[in-house]
Symmetry: C3
Subunit: 398 residues, 3 copies
Amino acid sequence: MKIDLKILCFVILFTVAAALLFFFSGIPGTGGPAAVHDEVWENLKFVKNVMIWFMLMLVAFLMIFVKKYEWGVALAVLLAAAGSFVVYLFIHDVYFKDAWNQDLMLGAVICSITLVIAIGCFLGTVKMWQYLLIGILFAPSYVLIEWFIGNVTLFGAFAQDPGGSILVHMCAAYFGLGVAVALREKRTFKEPMYTTTHSVSFVWLAAMLLWVLWPAFVTALLPMDLVTIGMITCYLAGIGSVISAWIVCYKIQKKVDPLVYTYAMLAGPVAIGAPLLMVGPWAALAVGIVAGIVSALSFIYLQPRLCDWLGARDVMGVHNLHGVAGWVGVAASSLVMLLYGAVNWALANIAVGLIVFVAALSLGIVSGIVLKMTRGCMCDDELFSDDADFIKNEEPMI
Amino acid sequence: MKIDLKILCFVILFTVAAALLFFFSGIPGTGGPAAVHDEVWENLKFVKNVMIWFMLMLVAFLMIFVKKYEWGVALAVLLAAAGSFVVYLFIHDVYFKDAWNQDLMLGAVICSITLVIAIGCFLGTVKMWQYLLIGILFAPSYVLIEWFIGNVTLFGAFAQDPGGSILVHMCAAYFGLGVAVALREKRTFKEPMYTTTHSVSFVWLAAMLLWVLWPAFVTALLPMDLVTIGMITCYLAGIGSVISAWIVCYKIQKKVDPLVYTYAMLAGPVAIGAPLLMVGPWAALAVGIVAGIVSALSFIYLQPRLCDWLGARDVMGVHNLHGVAGWVGVAASSLVMLLYGAVNWALANIAVGLIVFVAALSLGIVSGIVLKMTRGCMCDDELFSDDADFIKNEEPMI
Amino acid sequence: MKIDLKILCFVILFTVAAALLFFFSGIPGTGGPAAVHDEVWENLKFVKNVMIWFMLMLVAFLMIFVKKYEWGVALAVLLAAAGSFVVYLFIHDVYFKDAWNQDLMLGAVICSITLVIAIGCFLGTVKMWQYLLIGILFAPSYVLIEWFIGNVTLFGAFAQDPGGSILVHMCAAYFGLGVAVALREKRTFKEPMYTTTHSVSFVWLAAMLLWVLWPAFVTALLPMDLVTIGMITCYLAGIGSVISAWIVCYKIQKKVDPLVYTYAMLAGPVAIGAPLLMVGPWAALAVGIVAGIVSALSFIYLQPRLCDWLGARDVMGVHNLHGVAGWVGVAASSLVMLLYGAVNWALANIAVGLIVFVAALSLGIVSGIVLKMTRGCMCDDELFSDDADFIKNEEPMI
């Protein structure tokens, strides 16, 4: 293996760039984290931070069922997460001058997991380096929506979304759909997406562990005394969709499609994000049951019609889980607030849902146009294919 | 795909039922958790709660080695866990009027993991919806045994079982055996249980991670200052069985059966449950060594004889791990208490072990009769088969 | 199945030995843990302890890509970890008289994970029982190096290595290389190491989750108020190598070798161990970028030359990740201390790096000679082979 001069130059330049970053980042002496005023609480958040990163990686395995396109999914998730993570932190460090603490790191990983969900809509239809690009494009869009939800009042009320039904799930679903619509990759309809027993077993593993870790996600930014109730409603909503999604799949399909069930069983935790702290355990169970029903129905009946109409396939069915169950979360939280008599709060949540829907879709379409313009030629055998990106070392058939 | 009128009615009715639950569960305003008096401790228990749910899901992957029956195991675990979790919480909420806090949630997930272990005895021999049914049947049985162990004194002493050797493992093994005996499914003896390299690799993953997470399980309900010693004895017992189970398998079988070793390596953590806080680290290592020996021997010598005698196969060999190592835990804890001179405490533990053995077996037999009566016809190709329950999308052979 | 008299004797003797350990370990009454003065902090460390054990098991799955040698890797990891864990604790209990607390348990699991990394250099070239032996040989070597780094000053300064770049990663790489050199198993060069899609998907899973859990590892022994900054620099270094390793692999190889990328993407967290608390977030990103570049280059260019020169293959490429990125950590930390003007501290870190390099290599060679002498005949088909150690139950081809 000879060392190519061009590669040598490239490596040297890349290393020099990193070295410049090292020296001009204010090292030594500055750039460290602000004083931590509550050390125990920071250390407790440390654990949630790790758990949410864990979930982010599991999302890759939730989407790894196409046997000829497994490693590419994993790498795409890593690159999309890395790109968005860095840009999110850069904006918050340089523009908002935020302190470096667990909350900032939690904000960043939540931004990245939102993108990782979103890429499910168009996974396998762009080039590998473009997942890094979409990370860079997504983070500013997300920061905008995050700022809007956190700082703007509508009808005199703030949006109630402690567990991210709107900020994370709806944002992910509609940003992703926006990209897919802009790419308009019609060849996706012809992709048979063959699985194997074990490629789908990885999906079961990912879905079951995502379900388990979900309370860390919905309680990440709550004050300490609300964490337990957040866990209780999250798990009960999750139990609801585990049961109801199976019953619906079983009643309609007789034989269950595991790639419907393993997603729809997570609809409860998605939907409970908005009403997380407004409902008791049994009402949370009910929210989860409804979300599981609606999500499973959406996979079976809505998905083919919607994709036909959009002219592009939602590759991983992101909208059926995150979009649809996000709306269930908006509806449930608004309903509870109406029952409380807080009409303006209910209206605020509905309005924020609609605004995030429009904003995420638009920003997704714009980002998708950038992807389409920079993508260049994409051969048929580069779609949904590890062969385009990876060396394989399989035993030759005799 | 046309929308069937019957399915439409069913979906509407199901949704309406959930909505009624939502409204009549006392929302808005009540049903929330009681005041949390120690927030830090609640937040620390939050982590253990997640870890035990994680273990529950891993138990599915411990049993996923039959290649033609992988997804069914995962779904059965989800349904059994969901059914028992809801009913456990319902009983504790409505009948015992317990506060909603981490301890209640821990109690519920420990109930569910007990059932998930138990179903290993008869996995693949009942219909999918019956795992939901067994969840509903199991929870009251478990609550009864849990109440008995926690509230009844024998010989003037309470049972000493902080890590669940008796309450969880023996209860699981004998309830499960009871069901298997009632089902008396003789066709299980003919099942070859073919594996693949990767289906067994999932089992290695599950066994190794279960081993890792076990301290969260045995220390879940301990006071804060005993958690560290619980972890120390748990890991040392675990190291003991990792070593001794391998030596026994290797000496007897020459080539090790991975489906014996990956289970028997967990015997130490099972057995240490009862003597968890009575022994120092090196004695815990000894307990683990003995448990690993006994469990491996049980797999190799006891299992075929016991199953012949019972007329039903303990499908996943639950008894060899949880039953037998549970007895080691009872014996070790009683022995230590004898050495302390606390004869009545030693007798109490032995008596509780025997009572749980009889009670769990009886309740299991009753539940198994219900399963058998409601199961209806079960064709040969529905046994241990994903094909009966799932749509597959595999690449057609050319 | 008849019970063999020899086996019966063996089992009885083994059990008696365990019982003697049980009685002579000072049970009941002594051997328990010392009083815990800060319970919350102990409970927070409990979580990290579990996370590091989790990482140890994941290291097995990082090395599980050779399809015909999956289960053997898992078992080797368990036996190596168990042997070193027990001996480490024994030395610290009996010789150093350390209290039994979370810090001791953390020290022990860090010792074991170091060995588990090290065995990657010669995995598949020794007999199964020798992984237990190497555990027993490694622990004293490690304790010596650990004591040296913690207690000896050079140029009036202590080594700065809070996250284990030197103590763990360099120690692992050079101890492992030392063993490989002593074994000089030339047949490794002929091993084609065929993979399958899924065997490599397990590697992706392990690499991605190891990346996620890494902050628990580097902050395990830090005081409470430094944990957040340790997490921040660790994740940013990790993001750096996720991006840079991919760019280098892609630029040089066009099609990426997943078994280079999944390792090199972890180079940032390895390298940040030494400068963990000296750099801000953006400088940590730069360290990670450089580490990813250097590690990927090392896999592609250095590995074949180095192995040729040594006359033995570094089976899993341990040196390219842990050795090389360890040196990057030494260089980065020394550079920062030079910029601070602390020349003696910078020299101390370089000197400790060199001493650990020589010491680990020498101790590895000595241990390797012991392995070689006790290994006996190793047939060709025992190399890298599950068939030598395990019973398989695969469906017969028709």
